[in-house]
């Protein structure tokens, strides 16, 4: 069922996540924008976090400081990650 609550940017970021992490059988519409990406929600792990950091750099030109405390917030949900992209993209 189409998740109409995704903005265009959120859909773009969701597709980046799916592509970078090779998520099987998942489409952008399956990702709840407010749900946790790691642990209980989508179930991603620490290697995925590194992979997403690389994807953000390639796709949007965003370089994250690997041990910055705010990364936890940026990676909390699709919506938070999309907000980071909107604010810091340089592509």
């Amino acid at each position: 069922m189409a998740n109409t609550s995704l903005t265009e940017l959120e859909r773009d970021v969701a597709n980046m996540i799916i592509e970078a992490l090779e998520l099987e059988d998942i489409t952008a519409d399956d990702i709840e924008p407010e749900a946790p990406l790691f642990g209980d929600g989508l179930g991603l792990d620490s290697i995925d976090a590194l992979e997403l950091g690389l994807a953000l750099q390639k796709r949007y030109g965003i370089r994250l400081d690997s041990d910055a405390e705010e990364n936890r917030e940026h990676f909390a949900s699709l919506r938070q990650l999309s907000a980071l992209v909107a604010e810091r993209r340089s592509d």
């Binding site: 992490l21 090779e22 099987e24 059988d25 991603l44 290697i47 992979e51």
Partner: protein
Amino acid sequence: MDCLSHADTALPTLYLHRWRAWLPERAGEGTSACVITDEKPAASSVPALLRRRLTPLGRAVCTLLGDMGAHERAAMPVLHASRHGDGHRPLDMLDTLFEGEPLSPARFGLSVHNAVLGVYSIAFGNHASMAALAAAGEEFEALLSEARGYLAEGHESIMLILTDSPVPDRYRIQTQAPQAPSAMLMELSLTPALDAVRLQARSVDNAESRGQTVTPPLLADWLMGRRDLITRTPALCWQATTEMATPHTG
């Protein structure tokens, strides 16, 4: 080629309790109930978030280990030998480095030789001894040596996995590699059983043993009675027989 018998002293006898193979290049051919040929095995027992990190070869190994119930045998070591590992993965990373691009952390993590066993161990919660080997074309020989060591130390049985994988075309001039990936899994012990196949070695001349590298399809053909098996180091000819494997019940 016939197996010629020479002075046979202390040559190994092993018992094969079960075997399963993945031979995708033989899809559509009549093979054996022990062989699967799906291009991309389901590996449905592996959680999706782990499964996405496996190549078809890794999925095949996890599918067959799951089918054979290896995770229910906590004391059974699992050995995996492959000449090129998961084929293209480490080699793709070299290309990425050459182009000056950053490496994918996930692919880096999975480029190690024991990656498939690692994912299997996590997915099935199997904490048995596991090891990954490479031996420049003599992987099956190395597996047998390791297996005999574990069995001599008192392990009741052992699971051997031999896999083979294609490499990118530009490496073919330097190395032997097949066109299609494949896998063979064999559970061995030193103990005869009603349904076990006895694997008996005889020594052969070194000249005779300069044969092919032992691959999963070659092993499958041997176990289906289609050919002999000759290993190189040591030079041995192996016969697989069901007769005499029955325990003597008096």
